[in-house]
C-alpha cells in the first residue's frame, strides 16, 4: 500500500516535473513566470496528436517533430510578444500579463479553429503500465521521469558550463553590458525559448498520451508551476525535486488523510516552504550589495 502510494506519487510527480522544467528554464533566465508555457504544452499535445494519430507517423518521430514545431512557436512568441518588453526593461509583471494574454489567445484560437472536442492518442505501448513489487506504475511516468532527469542534467551543464550559458546568465543581469562583450543577447534568448518550446512539445505529447487532448489542458500546468516554486523557480534541479515532492505529498495526503483537503495541504505546504525558504528549496539569490 505505502509502496504503491509512493510509486503513484512519483509517477504524478514526474509529470509535474516535466512540465515544470519549461517554467524553470525561462524563469532562471529571464526572471519571469512564463504562463504561456501551459498553452504551449497544449499546442504540443495537439500537434503531437496530429502527427501521431491523424497523419500516422511513428510515435517517437512525432515527438521530435512536435518538439521542433513548439520550439519554433515559442521563439515566435518571444519575438513578437516579449522582446519589446524585455528591451524596455519592463518589470516582470508586465511579461507575466503578456504571457497570460498569449495563453488566453492560444486557448481560444484552438476553440475557434479546432473546437472543444476531446482527443485521445492512439495506443502507443502495448501495455501502459508495469507491475513492480505488486504495485503498478504507468509506463509514461517512467518515461517522463527519465526524460526530465536527462533534460535537467543536460540543461544544467549547458547553462553552467558553456560559454553560451554564461552569456545568457550575464545578459539576464545586464543585456547592454553583454552586448558590449560581443554577444547578441536576442539570439541567446531565442535559443532559450527554443529549448523551452521543445520541453513544452515533449511534455504536451506526454500529457496527451497520459490523459487526453483538449483546449484547457494548459491550465493543469499550474500545478507544475507550483512544483517549480517549491523547488525554487530559478533552479532547474529544483523543478524536478519540487515536482516529485508535490506529487508524493498529494498522494500521501489523499490516501492517508483526505482527498478533500489534499489541496489545502499542498498549498499550506507551499506557503510553509516559502516561509522557511523564501526562494524555494533550491532557489539561489544573488545578494545585492549596497
Amino acid at each position: 500500500m505505502f509502496l504503491q502510494t509512493l510509486v503513484t506519487g512519483l509517477g504524478i510527480g514526474s509529470i509535474y516535473a516535466l512540465m515544470a522544467m519549461g517554467y524553470c528554464l525561462v524563469f532562471s533566465i529571464l526572471n519571469f513566470s512564463n504562463f504561456a508555457h501551459g498553452a504551449m504544452i497544449m499546442i504540443g499535445a495537439y500537434v503531437g496528436y496530429l502527427f501521431c494519430s491523424i497523419i500516422g507517423i511513428p510515435f517517437f518521430l512525432s515527438i521530435i517533430i512536435t518538439a521542433v514545431i513548439t520550439g519554433i512557436l515559442s521563439v515566435i512568441n518571444e519575438r513578437l510578444a516579449y522582446r519589446s518588453l524585455r528591451e524596455r526593461n519592463a518589470p516582470s509583471l508586465y511579461l507575466i500579463i503578456t504571457a497570460m494574454g498569449i495563453s488566453i489567445m492560444l486557448e481560444n484560437l484552438v476553440y475557434s479553429t479546432i473546437g472543444s472536442n476531446f482527443y485521445a492518442y492512439p495506443r502507443v505501448f502495448s501495455k501502459n503500465y508495469l507491475e513492480i513489487f505488486s504495485s503498478t506504475i504507468g509506463l509514461i511516468d517512467i518515461y517522463s521521469f527519465f526524460v526530465s532527469i536527462i533534460c535537467i542534467i543536460l540543461l544544467h551543464l549547458f547553462l553552467n558550463n558553456s560559454k553560451i550559458g554564461m552569456a545568457i546568465r550575464a545578459g539576464v543581469a545586464d543585456p547592454i553590458a553583454t552586448s558590449l562583450m560581443g554577444a547578441n543577447f536576442n539570439v541567446l534568448i531565442r535559443n532559450v525559448f527554443f529549448l523551452s518550446g521543445i520541453f513544452a512539445g515533449i511534455s504536451g505529447v506526454f500529457m496527451g498520451l497520459r490523459y487526453m487532448v483538449y483546449p484547457q489542458m494548459g491550465w493543469i500546468t499550474n500545478k507544475a508551476y507550483i512544483a517549480a516554486v517549491i523547488g525554487g523557480l530559478g533552479s532547474l534541479p529544483g523543478a524536478i525535486i519540487g515536482g516529485f515532492i508535490l506529487g508524493i505529498i498529494e498522494t500521501i495526503v489523499s490516501v492517508y488523510i483526505s482527498s478533500v483537503v489534499r489541496d489545502v495541504f499542498s498549498f499550506s505546504m507551499l506557503i510553509l516552504i516559502l516561509l522557511l525558504k523564501p526562494l524555494g528549496l533550491f532557489g539561489i539569490k544573488y545578494e545585492e550589495k549596497m
Partner: protein, 233 residues
C-alpha cells in the same frame, strides 16, 4: 583610426551631443574631459553602439562603423563602461571570461586571466565570489579587467579611476600607458583631469554636448580656462 563627424544624440528632448566631431589616431591616447553631464559617457556609448545616434558619421579604420554593439565589438573596439557595469550574478572569474566572449583560443584567454589577476591581486582572492557582492572599488577593477580581456585594438575607458584607492589609481594609469605602448589605441574619459591630460597625446574638452577645446594633452594643463573650470586651481 576612428573619426566622428558631426554627431548628434538625443535622449527624448535632451540634446546630449550637439554636432560633435573628434578624431583618434592609431596608437594614441586621447582624453575627453568635461564636467558632469557634459556628454562624455554619451559619446563613448554611442561609439560602442549602446546609445543610438540621431545623425553623424563614424568611421573606424576607414569603414563606416556598424550600428549594433555586438558587431562593433567584433572589430576590436572595447568599452569599459561607466559605473561598474559588472554582471552581478556571475562570479569574478566568469565576469572576466565574459570579457573574452569572442575569443576562441582558450590558452591565450587563460594567460590573460592570470595577467588580470596579477594586475589586480585582490580579484584573485575573489574568483568565486559573485560580482554583485564585491566592494565598489573591486567592481571597478573587475570592469577594467573585463574590458582588457577582449584584447581590443581600440579601448575606451569611461572613468576608470572611479572609486579606486589612490595607489591603485596610480597603477591603473600606469597600466593604461603600458597597454598603449603595445599599440592599443585608447580613448579615455576621466574626471581626474590631471591624470587624464597628463597621459594623453591629445585631449578634447566637452561642454554641454559640444567640443569646446581640443589640443595636446599636456599643454592643456597650462590653459588657464581649463585650470579654472576643470582642475580647480
Amino acid at each position: 583610426m576612428l573619426t566622428i563627424k558631426d554627431m548628434n544624440v538625443f535622449y527624448g528632448h535632451i540634446h546630449a551631443l550637439q554636432g560633435v566631431s573628434i578624431q583618434v589616431n592609431q596608437s594614441e591616447i586621447v582624453s575627453i574631459i568635461g564636467s558632469n553631464g557634459a556628454g562624455k559617457s554619451t559619446l563613448l556609448n554611442s561609439i560602442a553602439g549602446i546609445v543610438k545616434r540621431a545623425s553623424g558619421e563614424i568611421t573606424f579604420e576607414n569603414n563606416p562603423l556598424p550600428t549594433r554593439s555586438y558587431d562593433i565589438v567584433k572589430l576590436g573596439i572595447s568599452l569599459v563602461p561607466e559605473r561598474r557595469r559588472i554582471f552581478p550574478n556571475l562570479t569574478v572569474n566568469e565576469n572576466l571570461k565574459m570579457g573574452a566572449y569572442l575569443r576562441n583560443n582558450q590558452k591565450e584567454v587563460e594567460i590573460d586571466l592570470e595577467e588580470m589577476y596579477r594586475l589586480f591581486p585582490i580579484l584573485k582572492k575573489r574568483t568565486k565570489q559573485f560580482g554583485g557582492t564585491l566592494s565598489g572599488g573591486e567592481q571597478q577593477m573587475l570592469t577594467i579587467a573585463r574590458g582588457l580581456m577582449s584584447r581590443p585594438k581600440f579601448l575606451m575607458l569611461d572613468e576608470p579611476s572611479l572609486g579606486l584607492a589612490p595607489n591603485l589609481t596610480e597603477e591603473v594609469f600606469l597600466k593604461i600607458e603600458e597597454i598603449n605602448q603595445t599599440g592599443i589605441t585608447i580613448l579615455l574619459v576621466e574626471q581626474n583631469a590631471f591624470k587624464a591630460l597628463e597621459i594623453a597625446n591629445r585631449a578634447y574638452v566637452l561642454e554641454n554636448g559640444k567640443i569646446a577645446f581640443s589640443g595636446i594633452g599636456a599643454k592643456m594643463l597650462d590653459n588657464p580656462k581649463i585650470k579654472d573650470a576643470y582642475l580647480g586651481v
